[in-house]
Symmetry: C3
Subunit: 158 residues, 3 copies
């Protein structure tokens, strides 16, 4: 185990939880940690490119793709979403307080050297293809996660 490694599983695609994850990741990276984030299930949606990408999908995969938010900019609050009103209020308040947006936080985290891993099993189930996701990702499964977690001294499930 190493004192300067951290992992997070980002299972949630909610705006608020993703912000919490990015603040922890960026803070830990700034303090000299190697941070690895595994994006799985709804968390994968945070990594989707905002524009439609032409890839071959089954009917159900296309349906899932349409129903889920395409990218971090579309993420909503886990509470008080209120048809988008609460989410927009939160985004507005963050802007007035000079807090970066979630997409900016994600870019920053990558620039700070935080390693992003997309869970391949979730991608398969949800029909998300590599071309639909941001660049700079790695692709791996649970064994890689467990190997990273074994070396880390902080492991969170978000």
């Amino acid at each position: 185990m190493s004192d300067n490694k951290k992992t997070m599983i980002v299972f949630s695609g909610d705006l608020d939880k993703a912000i919490a994850a990015m603040i922890i990741a960026r803070g830990a990276a700034a303090m000299g940690n190697e941070v690895t984030i595994f994006f799985t299930f709804w968390g994968l949606n945070l990594l989707r490119k905002p524009e439609k990408v032409n890839v071959k999908k089954s009917f159900l995969e296309s349906m899932f793709g349409l129903m889920m938010p395409r990218g971090a900019k579309k993420a909503g609050l886990s509470k008080m979403h209120m048809g988008g009103l609460g989410t927009r209020m939160m985004q507005y308040v963050m802007k007035t307080k000079n807090v970066p947006t979630l997409p900016e936080m994600i870019t920053e985290a990558q620039e700070f050297g935080v390693k992003f891993i997309a869970c391949t099993m979730s991608m398969d189930i949800m029909g998300i293809k590599e071309e639909e996701l941001l660049s700079g990702l790695e692709f791996a499964g649970v064994a890689t996660y467990l190997g990273n977690a074994d070396e880390a001294n902080l492991n969170l499930f978000i």
Copy 2:
């Protein structure tokens, strides 16, 4: 602390979170870890037998029992449940991809030696009796959890 012990608290009874927990548990067990899962609150519903069991309950306990899903097969998605439609879509997709169902994953995890502990305090509050739960469980409280967590190098709350 041991490098090959892991614990999870499964608080959620949601299909997607339970799948994530079982994939981690099974992966860790396959890599030689002793894995202990504490099922608490809504997570207990994952361990309920699918059929009705005749046990003596107070009126409120019976109400809770009726309102909560009976067993892993009835678990729904935390997002996009859509009155059951999204959940059935997810289950259908998993089947087409040859991913085991959640009840199958739970059985497999037990066969792989993952230890399942049902939280007795939650059982008491929710009025769930031992006879209503799957076989092969242990029953314990927070002190047992903390003892296990102290020896583990990965502890997640799901």
Copy 3:
């Protein structure tokens, strides 16, 4: 790393998750651990004084303040809230089983020496002022959390 330090991030303001956190915190403290809880985002609502406190707020901060539950007594279940009915049922059942209420658990945890830290960045975003929160808190950000987590052998995100 120390074997007798634990941290939790309480991100959720839900009654059930807060109860789980307090049971773990109290159990760990009773077993001789130093427990630190970081309250962030919706979790901050658990620390709000139940009465209205006159502080200067912007219009949006006042809106957030009105929309979010004021204190642990107002916290609702994450599932089966059912317009408050499920939450009241749970609270009633807990009372009949002699389980303390959430506000009592919070007071007890503080008496047991559990350290409560309110996340200053979340306070800023949500417009929550120190005067609106319970006494006995500390105020800090992610660096303090990470410093504590580095010394702990159990770190949960709830």
